[in-house]
């Protein structure tokens, strides 16, 4: 089983020139899989990291990750910090005052490592593209 992609969506999708606001990225983690949180329980574990690429039209601040779910591991002393299901991550966005009006794409990268109840899947980095419009 290869590590499946995580579906990435976002909103809002339209911005005005010069706008400063917050966008929300939605990660849809496949059922049965949990991924390590941005700050995982142990330092050797692979954190979830997401980044969005600035362009000449928009720039992004640092993402704000949600509180993870605590997942105790049976008899061990470890409680994993994970995300599962739908996860929302917020990014500050600044649209340039002279941003080009029209449709644009934003490139992003998501890296993570997930497990099911029976497998630990290798770390993955996926590239994604989000469609937006400057009006």
């Amino acid at each position: 089983m290869e590590t499946p992609d995580i579906k990435v969506e976002w909103d809002p999708k339209k911005f005005t020139e010069g706008e400063k606001s917050t966008i929300e990225i939605h990660l849809e983690i496949p059922e049965g899989i949990h991924i390590q949180a941005h700050k995982p329980a142990e330092d050797l574990l692979i954190p979830t990291n997401i980044s969005l690429k600035d362009s000449g039209n928009v720039s992004f601040g640092q993402p704000v990750y949600p509180e993870p779910k605590r997942l105790p591991v049976s008899w061990s002393q470890v409680t994993l910090l994970v995300y599962e299901g739908l996860v929302n991550i917020q990014f500050p966005i600044q649209v340039a005052k002279n941003a080009k009006v029209g449709k644009h794409t934003i490139e992003g990268r998501l890296s993570f490592q997930g497990c099911t109840d029976q497998l630990c899947l290798p770390p993955k980095e996926q590239v994604f593209v989000l469609d937006t419009e400057i009006i």
Binding site: L45, Q113, C115, Q118, L119, C120, P122, P123
Partner: protein, 165 residues
């Protein structure tokens, strides 16, 4: 072993004599046959595997420290990672048993179940294999979180059984 383990397609059998050689983290060549006469617990892991980290203290404290003077040998086998990364894990958990590096995955391929769409290096992670003093495979179990507790107990029980033989 778990019922599930019995239904997997494997390239080995219980009772089969097994041997392999790998370099340990210090670069020394280690063979299973170096430990003939001991009951061997081999544990396959990666540094990024959360369940491996969860189990790491148990392997040192509950298995190795309690059984090393009774005739048990613990071997941790890392799958496809660098020495530097593995050393971090060894130091973090104060592992004092040998840590071997399967850098080309050939030992992993031998012990991993065959399943379409599942690479050996994923299938093998967090598995236990126990060999008796004649290097015969007597127990194995792959990761299954529903049996994480049960496997920890089963491993200890099998070690005790084989030591009593």
């Amino acid at each position: 072993m778990s019922e599930e383990a019995t239904s997997l397609k494997l390239s080995f059998k219980l009772g089969e004599k097994l041997d392999f050689s790998l370099s340990d983290i210090e670069g020394k060549n280690i063979s299973l046959s170096d430990y003939r006469g001991k009951v061997i617990l081999a544990f396959f892991f990666t540094t990024w595997c959360p369940y491996c980290s969860a189990e790491a203290p148990y392997l040192e404290k509950e298995v190795w420290q309690k059984f090393k003077n009774k005739g048990v040998q613990v071997l941790a086998i890392d799958v496809l990672e660098t020495k530097e990364l593995v050393e971090k894990m060894r130091k973090k958990f104060n592992w004092t048993f040998p840590v071997l590096l399967d850098t080309d995955g050939r030992v992993t391929k031998k012990f991993a179940p065959e399943k379409e769409g599942l690479s050996p290096e994923v299938a093998i992670i967090n598995s236990h294999f126990i060999l008796d003093s004649e290097l015969r495979l007597r127990y194995y179990e792959y990761l299954n979180m529903e049996r994480f507790d049960a496997r920890a107990r089963a491993t200890i029980k099998k070690l005790e059984e084989l030591l009593a033989e």
